[in-house]
Assembly symmetry: C2
Homo-oligomer: 225 residues x 2
């Protein structure tokens, strides 16, 4: 069975886990904490970012884009209505614009700070910095405002069909939701979208997560939250 | 003719310009400063990141991944020896691992700080913060150390053939070199690689750049530096 080296809260790994579940491919998760800088792990992934996909008869596939594109190029479903990457030039460009938004902007301005302060610091024996968390929260409100604007006229992130951009956003939102950091009552459009995507069978892979000493927010696994 | 909305020093745009030049496609550059938050521009690119590719009969293609994949899917050369994305699973994964390294890690730890401090601040009437530039320089030395390690056993970034990862790295290095920030004498392996890639006809598109009030470092356009 393929192995994914990652930590369960990692948004990049959650995107890959959603894709693989949607494509009905079982994987084993091998919990890894890249910031611990384990020597054997760094030899595989010197950037210490992960995730890493280990597949029989292949060298390790390292890093989000390499794994994501490997999965799309080799394991995706192509039946009509099942593909996560749309077919037209316009829809592909819009899907990728919003994936970049999530992976560069939302990650840089929100997710990585929240995860660093609330999860990595705990793991390394430190305490969260409330001023960083306050800044991340203010940034997150701006992002949620933009996604609310999109969902006012679209059923899914990139248009009328679900795409990889929905999984990319859901990967980040679900990690933040695990930590209790999504102000659901303020963003009904985003909540409606998250309820839709959370109900997909592929999402169970994330909702079953229990991360060591860090309990999930109460409503984390509820489909009706 | 297609238009690329970007600023000339922007590494993400330099990668696209190198690809298009390699694929022998002429474009017109429309200089844009996303941080000025021009309303008409923000309607096209609400992330205010760019670059944006404008092509007749298409909606604007917005953001690095959308433009890069549009170019690869629609405009790339596929003759043997001309493709910038290699054919095997291993080489594709290695190319993408190193593109992520450049676009996430090198950008986050070095290029964006140097460009922000030396270029954006000047454009917005501020002055560079020397402590930020010192930190970026120390980070850059770590990155150069890793690339020197790679070039000790490889002719190109991802292996024996030139790939998109070389263009991604060259896009960043060339922007930093314009600003005089590459310690060439300390990194002979990286210098040897940069001399090889700088000699390609596609590179002329970057070497002819003159950016308003900001002169290029003396050796910037020299093939023998």
């Amino acid at each position: 069975m393929p192995q994914l080296l990652c930590y369960r809260l990692q948004p990049a790994a959650r995107l890959i886990r959603l894709m693989l579940a949607e494509y009905e491919i079982d994987i084993e998760i091998k919990e890894m904490r890249p910031w611990r800088r384990d020597t054997a792990y760094l030899e595989i992934d010197p950037a210490a970012e992960g995730p890493v996909l280990m597949i029989e008869d292949h060298a390790p596939i390292v890093g989000l884009t390499a794994v994501l594109m490997y999965v799309e190029e080799n394991l995706s479903l192509t039946e009509p209505g099942r593909a996560l990457m749309p077919a037209t030039v316009e829809a592909r460009a819009e899907t990728r614009r919003l994936m970049d938004w999530v992976q560069f902007k939302l990650n840089d301005e929100v997710s990585r700070y929240v995860i660093e302060e609330k999860f990595v610091r705990r793991d390394t024996g430190g305490t969260p910095d409330p001023s960083v968390l306050r800044a991340a929260k203010a940034n997150f409100n701006e992002h949620l405002h933009y996604f609310s604007f999109l969902f006012a006229t679209r059923r899914w992130v990139a248009g009328d069909a679900m795409t990889l951009a929905d999984f990319a956003l859901a990967a980040h939102i679900s990690a933040l939701d695990y930590l209790g950091d999504v102000p659901w009552d303020d963003v009904p459009e985003v909540k409606g979208w998250y309820q839709r995507i959370k109900s997909r069978p592929a999402f169970r892979t994330l909702l079953n997560d229990r991360i060591g000493a860090l309990p999930a927010a109460k409503h984390y696994a509820d489909l009706d939250f």
